[in-house]
Assembly symmetry: C2
Homo-oligomer: 217 residues x 2
């Protein structure tokens, strides 16, 4: 048992060392790194596309897409929006780690970017345990997932800088107690900024984009 | 690298051995085991509650609830529905395995059950890799997650016996191409039964319950 623990510690330490190197590389190029985590289907790519629409060309954006399979659906959408995109295929693994991001960074034109968005694998558990070297962590939740998710999947919310609540356009059709949801977030993380948005209608995107612009500059 | 692979193989082999023991224990008591997997918020617990409503008291149901945290929200709902429920708190781990189920089985009144439903941790990736010893695997998808999920998270769909598509009541408000979704499932798994349902309205529950009754008997 103690051997298992020491192996886990070694892995995390190696990951953290590589995360620090990723951070240094981003800093050397003046690039702000944003790690986006969410459950499958919360709207990570839709939010990234709305964000690109709001902040480019004033800010120059690149995207690293983490996927468990070889499909390039998301990377293709980002490329079509005019931003450089690289896909990391984790080969079935359930999260990105600093090693994977370190391999992707040389493929991005860092000198020509202000913001690098990393779309993590769709998973509310594992991605929260691995530093990538990015400067901020964001979780995208969505109304149809239900208001109890902060209570059921607490770890992912503890170290985030902002929480985006997507699909608020569906509130008329779903029982979702926003006060209960936000109380759950606040219990875990009193300082996270919370942004209700709808990628379908555009509601709330500007407030989220303002927060991000202030972080990047 | 070869050493890493051999360790992974040993773990899976140990898990499979325990899964076979779980299966033998269920068989000895005449209990059918059903492993339910899904993304967070797809409606696993809601579907279980609708299923209990449809098939009890003709069939006697017990539920094992897998959670990553110590909250008993789901187990409490199942208990309130009149069925024995046990919670497995994985302590942050992203899936159930056969060891965890082996510890839960002695806490269930197996002699008094026809069906044991195991609600796996909300995750579309990791649970698919661990046999539990149950007799059938089901994935619950939901309309708001999007029609591209079989293409993005293929592994979880490969070995399932049925696919439940929940929240079809939201179709008028969401772009969801059901033909594209079902084609993705069929590519991975031509034999899985597909059941569109709404836990909110009750639509489709009876067809799903019929399938399950035929399996259990």
């Amino acid at each position: 048992m103690s051997k298992t623990i020491s192996i886990v510690e070694d892995i995390m330490s190696a990951n953290d060392q590589l995360a620090a190197q990723n951070r240094a590389q981003l800093d050397a190029h003046g690039v702000f790194g944003l790690n986006i985590m969410a459950s499958p289907g919360a709207g990570k790519t839709s939010t990234i596309l709305r964000t690109i629409e709001a902040i480019t060309p004033a800010l120059r954006v690149g995207v690293v897409e983490g996927d468990t399979a070889a499909v390039t659906i998301d990377a293709d959408k980002v490329s079509a929006a005019g931003c450089p995109a690289v896909q990391i295929n984790t080969g079935g693994s359930c999260h990105l780690d600093a090693v994977m991001l370190a391999k992707a960074l040389p493929q991005m034109p860092l000198d020509e970017l202000d913001l690098l968005i990393v779309e993590n694998v769709g998973n509310l558990i594992c991605p929260g345990a691995f530093h990538l070297g990015t400067h901020a962590n964001v979780v995208i939740a969505s109304v149809p997932e239900g208001d109890d998710k902060p209570y059921k999947y607490p770890n992912i919310y503890r170290n985030i800088d902002a929480l985006v609540l997507n699909k608020v356009d569906l509130r008329p059709y779903i029982d979702f107690d926003q006060e209960y949801f936000e109380r759950g977030i606040r219990l875990l993380n009193p300082n996270a900024a919370i942004f209700p948005i709808s990628c379908k209608t555009g509601e709330g995107i500007e407030a989220w984009a303002d927060w991000l612009r202030a972080k990047v500059k």
